[in-house]
Subunit: 509 residues, 2 copies
Amino acid sequence: MSDPSSAIARLNALVGEVVDLRNAAALVGWDERVSMPPGGVAVHGDMAATIQRIAHEKFTSAELGHAIGAAARELESLPPDSEPKRLVNVTARDYDRAVRVPSEYVEEHAYVASAAHQAWKEARAQSRYGIFQPHLEKVVRLGQQYAGFFQPVAHPYDALIDPYEPGILTSEIQEIFDVLRPRQVELVRAIQERRVEQPSFAEAYYDEHEMLAFSTEVISAFGFDWNRGRQDKSTHPFATPIGSDDVRITTRFNNRHPFEMLFAAMHEAGHALYEQGVSPAWNRTLVRGGASLGMHESQSRLWENVVGRSLPFWQHFFPHLQRRFSSQLSGVTLETFHRGINQVRPSLIRVEADEVTYNLHVMVRVEIEIAMLTGAISTDDAPAYWNAKMKEYLGTVPDTDANGILQDMHWSIGLFGYFATYTLGNLIALQLWQTYTEDDPQWAERMQRGDFRTLREWLRAALHQHGRGYQPRDLVTRITGHSVSTEPYLEYLESKYGELYGVSPAARA
Amino acid sequence: MSDPSSAIARLNALVGEVVDLRNAAALVGWDERVSMPPGGVAVHGDMAATIQRIAHEKFTSAELGHAIGAAARELESLPPDSEPKRLVNVTARDYDRAVRVPSEYVEEHAYVASAAHQAWKEARAQSRYGIFQPHLEKVVRLGQQYAGFFQPVAHPYDALIDPYEPGILTSEIQEIFDVLRPRQVELVRAIQERRVEQPSFAEAYYDEHEMLAFSTEVISAFGFDWNRGRQDKSTHPFATPIGSDDVRITTRFNNRHPFEMLFAAMHEAGHALYEQGVSPAWNRTLVRGGASLGMHESQSRLWENVVGRSLPFWQHFFPHLQRRFSSQLSGVTLETFHRGINQVRPSLIRVEADEVTYNLHVMVRVEIEIAMLTGAISTDDAPAYWNAKMKEYLGTVPDTDANGILQDMHWSIGLFGYFATYTLGNLIALQLWQTYTEDDPQWAERMQRGDFRTLREWLRAALHQHGRGYQPRDLVTRITGHSVSTEPYLEYLESKYGELYGVSPAARA
């Protein structure tokens, strides 16, 4: 990129080392969940802690801070959009955030999270919130302390969202929720009233290996690059990049939910396509990777839901699936199958939620986080608050705290400010989709032929290649011409589910 | 082990960090050979280089040097054999060796080895030594330079053996070779003269999965701890510890050599049992691991050859094998099978060599290394030297350099001084075995019952638990009452193969 004695080359060498260590930490994490024998827990814990600590020390060093300053001065005359300038900007932004957080805080956070996670596992197993509550109290206090490092912010929660979704404000999220909430609640209610009986094909027995083979066929058609990635089994599906050229996804099979494996594969492949699509120019820099969690989620949800649960997709793939599972699917029509995989049912559990109810689960969590953070409610009040919100938004109340406030792992590992990114992902997916389908009027015919190349290349050119080079909100505007918006998403939801369930959008007006 | 403010605790913290990084490097290496998609080469190379460099910097830091000194002073009054003292001794020994080697040398070595490895691959593929020769020249010169860092030594080669086999001298290895050579050459010659026809069962088709299942049965019986280890497939079998509680072995299947998978599994399980048997007290210290490569090889060869190619072993396992491969082995007697897996045939290739010829391959390599290092021969002369030695020791001359001097990877990655450890492993295995069978007169009956617990626990108590806590030569003396000796090995070889091939040891006198 530049001569080795330049300031930018010096910065790249220092950052490259940090990237190498973070990649190694990612590999250790992957290994822990995929390959590690049970006895390896302690040695993996030590490895991960040491690598992460050294990476943090190196990244927050004064030497690196000076290198950023020198590189910025060296590049002063370049246009703001030039590659080296974007690289320095991303590095400077990450650096500024990292140095605001004292090492003692990082260590205390790790310590609190480790204890909280143990307590949460026990609390959930026994469905006793009381076991977890004192730990959640500490997690909330750490959140408040964290927000303090970033004063002045308009809202303390802004500081907590920022690591996951740089630049978005609490007020914007609240506005988004205020638009989504009534229309999604209404749509759920209307679908519920139809009392549509669900088809029974999903209750048959499906062979795991055949389902894996079909999933592989689908994500290969999406364009997952097996030369620069792999797929394994793990307890919970996830995607993890060890750099752009080694992107790993996992899947699982559950007899009671035989299609979960397929949709999880599409979801994780969506994440992977993003990572694999980042320009090689960003290798071994902090620009590699996704622009934000919401942006990442837009890709997984686009491939899983907008593509993978659509009619044109199954017009191509349903005959393939039927050939693999002839006895289970012989009498099933395409339309029945399509409705079956788009079943709407308010459930207690977020990870089992469908497209229509998902955001409502997210709102419960984000609203409770904000309320605890600002002291509007105490951690003692949280379960009652949770249950009341579930009743209000989904019309259902958890039978136990295990199926309620204790269901998600996030708080137990100190993730606070993360949940809204799921909803942002849903919205951005449909904004991108709308722009893509305008750009490519042949999209449906292509999909009916099983051809996803145009979509994939469009996403790569518009989004993937840039990595973290632009702020997520700027990227959305750059690609779609609009800032983050609810309309394409709501239109999609009301139109798709209106048709599937015979619910006219007009009916709700 | 001690209060956290003590000097020994401070040393342990610093060393623990280095151990974590080395474990991570081992994991990256394992992943590269087992899991990595092809595209991951560059990102893995960067990770490995950065981790190793940081580990080296941290290990050779002045801070760590001072911590060793402080810990040594703190422990002055303890007996020399106490655990903390052994720990400090091992650390000091490694530190003293590491700081003698300048970083510039380490970097140049990595650079030369990387280029040499590429050249070697090409040279071997084309069987053109000339492609590799200039690189070998550099490797030899680096070897000479390395020896210079350790002056005074009795022989420059002493410095090159030391990292692999601490404490052994070139003169001792030469004496050992002088005893082994005539007796092994004579034994090979005598067996050749018998012209015993080899049984044909090994030429049948064996199912890979069934062979893997049988290998697993065998190494489970040996005591491989699946809770603290795993087995995968890779191009070349190897064993790698990510600490004592996560020890990984690999295997491979080759249709043309269907039993290779089984014996490789036993071999690697032997390495793994050593690593898994190190006392947990040594976790996260430099005392963890095997005392030397020769010591390690003694364990792999003991389980593979002394146990796994013995008659009592197959008295138990042959019926199991016959049940799994009834068509291939139905007419085969135990005796025929036993002779078949102990076939002696002078070959060109070391890794295909049998127990009787193996050391002769090693001698060719070690003698050529010493001759090049001291300048007795030039790298230009090396192929002719190689072929002459092969003729002299094994009665066979390589048809090509690919099957001769270019066959082994070692020199191409800068491993110089390594080969003798294979022969030391053979000798030590039989010394340990002799002592064990004296201690446990029931050994044969146990083996005929498939019971390996007494042997395994004996090895653990005598050897494994100590890790690197004692110098290998002291360990051998401590366990067997003798220093490294050729007699148990030669007796075993002459007796076993004398019987199998009807060659009386007296005949050679």
